[in-house]
Symmetry: C2
Subunit: 454 residues, 2 copies
């Protein structure tokens, strides 16, 4: 029998972990520097909490956990068999499963806020970096287990929160060295389109259709709209808006002319203007108004944001937006929030493709001590202790193996330095330090090793 | 309907996360400083990988994941119903579930080593900090989701590895400020007992019985041994060994007299001696030979280690040992390894009870800027950017709310400093810095804030 990681899930080797941690640590540090606080929620949630929050398709993609022990009683067998025989999979599932793995971090976060409302200081700025699971068909770039890196501010409707999140996006990618463009839109603009056509109740259909523009092109978007009940006349009205081109100022002016008289449109334009103005003042110049930006999730109500890597054929690598009623589903209505989520896997692929991972992240251990036997080894242990106190990470080869074998280990593991304390060095209280990059060797007094390596 | 975290699982609030991260970061740093490299494995594994590795009881405690989609076909309903009706739960489970959540980090690690054997440089020093899941009945201190923090060295049978792990344990608890005693024994000693009695095939029963000594007392251990087929005469032979008292040297001497003539006993004594001698040389004086230490897991073959907090009624907070054939179950025999695992939850409880969490870990954000309106806020954003560049973490209150409300937020969130830039300060390029601990306020020039706060 072959034992492997399950399809769509991944082992991460030390090298991959060093690169992944570099991304997570960068995001985490920027979140912390802006006063966001970390929380964690359990991998498993009650299916009552998860079901119905991600649409019908999402419910199917939830990993469900079989109830423990005797999951189906003998007296339930008939009912269960009938459900299977009538293809009532959902009802059959309910009989044997009450828990599922989280599908994203947003719904568990909403439950967290409701459960802990009395301990939380609002506005609540939280971040959360944890894996999520989706029972999707695995394919290139689509995994069944992957990490999300979310930050949300909940309990404040100030646009300064949107601005801070744009700033965070900007800082993270600046630190990672990846050139990006940030696309901004507002659900109020889309809502105005729907109002303009007298089709408010079809806002979700409109959003879903426009969201696909990038992938399927304008003709197919218009076709989907007509399939969903929009008339050819409706499409004629929408088309020029979706085709608005130019600088941010020009686009805003065009929008103003078309929908500036409608209350909700006016509000949307104001919000976009405010965010663009303020972010420009703090030096962010890569924020682009994109009127065709829609985003799939239906809970957004205000600003929506998406980030793309410049010059790369890669989907959105970060996204987010304002929602006015996320906690409402759990009985705590009218709490406004805004959040973003970094897609660590895609960012990893971008950095890899552009060769942007700093080389130093992959040699966390600086020194290998060669093992020449009992006495020499005791001396190495003393020196190693001193190095570690100075945050110089090091290890001693655990066996008195042939020098060639130990040096091969040093090479394979990419230690920048190797220290050799043999019989002679032991007598003289010296050591030989070999620089593995240059190949140079130098004899150093034992008490000078730290200053040599620092 | 009430929506809550599932029983036995936990939400972690920002305060709890700060304390947990303090523990994880400490362990991680010590692991890294000794040259251990991090890996991660998926939460889900094939049930083929997991089943049969933790005993019958362990198999029951695995969380099993329902197969996706149509998990049972109509033509399988009869077979499935028969299995339920004949209480063949295991076989019924196999029909609808092929994946489970990991139960520990050791078995997935063994699979990892086998799968990646060609990329790994041996000896392989890996660490892994991830949650595990057990379908246990939740009770105080026993969770269905909890983190393990493992380090293992695989592919080297040198005792220097055991010594390094003892050193790591010592360093971690030194950094955490928690007084511990480290108990050491060797499975070879237990194997010698079994040999002495001519009951080699009952080594596992002997180990399991002795393992309970702490909890149930000597009388009950002897009773269990007799239940498992050991005679009263056998018990008379074991009792004096289990009762050996004194210093490490005295215990070793007693052991030598009783089992020193048996090959495997001699080897066990030598190993214990070597580890005690070497660790003493590097200044570790809290390592105690405990002949009654057995540890439950059956794959240990050499040194076994357990750590207790001194003066606390708490079980083992860290444990580990040497195993000679962990990867054998996955088709890669004769690879020796040794590992330890820190129990983060129990360590958390110890630090909490002894009030050992440093106070500074809970105020990650140093400064709150009070929001006095548009213009003032823009000035705050500029200053905040400068502070963040100096790694001074800060945030601006997102709304121009009443000062009282903003100051309440500052208090609730425990910011050490509050900076106020009002109209007057804006004109003079100054700010008021309030020290929230002392209550003192001081007017400072804007360009001197950083030196004031550093």
């Amino acid at each position: 029998m072959e034992y492997k990681a399950i399809k769509g899930t991944r082992d991460f080797t030390p090298l991959q972990m060093q690169k992944r941690n570099y991304i997570f640590d960068t995001i985490k540090k920027v979140y912390l520097s802006h006063g966001f606080l970390q929380i964690e929620t359990p991998a498993m949630e009650s299916l009552n909490t998860l079901m119905g929050k991600y649409g019908e398709e999402g419910d199917k993609l939830l990993f469900k956990i079989l109830d423990s022990g005797e999951f189906l009683k003998k007296e339930e067998v008939n009912e269960f068999s009938n459900l299977i025989n009538t293809s009532s999979i959902n009802k059959a599932t309910k009989m044997i499963s009450e828990k599922g793995l989280r599908y994203d971090l947003t719904v568990p976060f909403a439950r967290f806020v409701v459960n802990h409302r009395n301990e939380i200081t609002f506005p609540f700025k939280r971040f959360q970096i944890q894996p999520v699971w989706r029972a999707d068909r695995p394919q290139k770039g689509r995994y069944r287990e992957f990490y999300q890196c979310d930050a949300d501010i909940i309990g404040s409707d100030s646009l300064l929160n949107e601005i801070e999140l744009v700033q965070i996006i900007s800082e993270v990618f600046e630190l990672l060295g990846l050139e990006i463009s940030i696309k901004l839109n507002n659900r109020k603009i889309l809502a105005t389109f729907a109002q303009l056509l007298g089709k408010e109740e079809h806002l979700q259909d409109l959003t879903v259709a426009i969201d696909k523009l990038d992938k399927v092109g304008m003709d197919n978007v218009l076709k989907e709209l007509q399939d969903k009940g929009f008339s050819a006349e409706d499409c004629d009205k929408i088309l020029p808006i979706l085709n608005i081109k130019g600088s941010n100022e020009e686009k805003l002016l065009s929008l103003q002319n078309i929908i500036g008289q409608i209350d909700i449109g006016k509000k949307g334009i104001e919000e976009i203007k405010y965010i663009i103005d303020k972010t420009q003042k703090i030096g962010i110049n890569n924020l682009d108004l994109d009127i065709t930006l829609a985003r799939g999730l239906n809970y957004y109500t205000g600003a929506i944001i998406e980030v793309k890597a410049v010059g790369m054929a890669m989907g959105s690598i970060t996204g987010g937006g304002r929602y006015d009623n996320l906690t409402g589903i759990f009985g705590m209505p009218n709490v406004s929030g805004v959040g973003i989520s970094f897609g660590a896997d895609r960012i990893y692929d971008c950095l890899e493709e552009k060769n942007l991972f700093p080389s130093e992240i992959t040699n966390s251990t600086k020194v290998l001590f060669i093992n020449f036997g009992e006495k020499e080894n005791e001396a190495c242990m003393m020196v190693a202790n001193e190095l570690r106190k100075q945050e110089i990470f090091c290890e001693i080869y655990p066996e008195n193996a042939k020098l060639k074998k130990q040096m091969k280990y040093a090479n394979d593991r990419h230690f920048p330095f190797v220290i050799l304390i043999g019989e002679e060095e032991l007598t003289n209280s010296t050591c030989v330090i070999k620089n593995m990059t240059s190949g140079e060797q130098q004899v150093v007094n034992t008490n000078e090793i730290i200053s040599y390596l620092s």
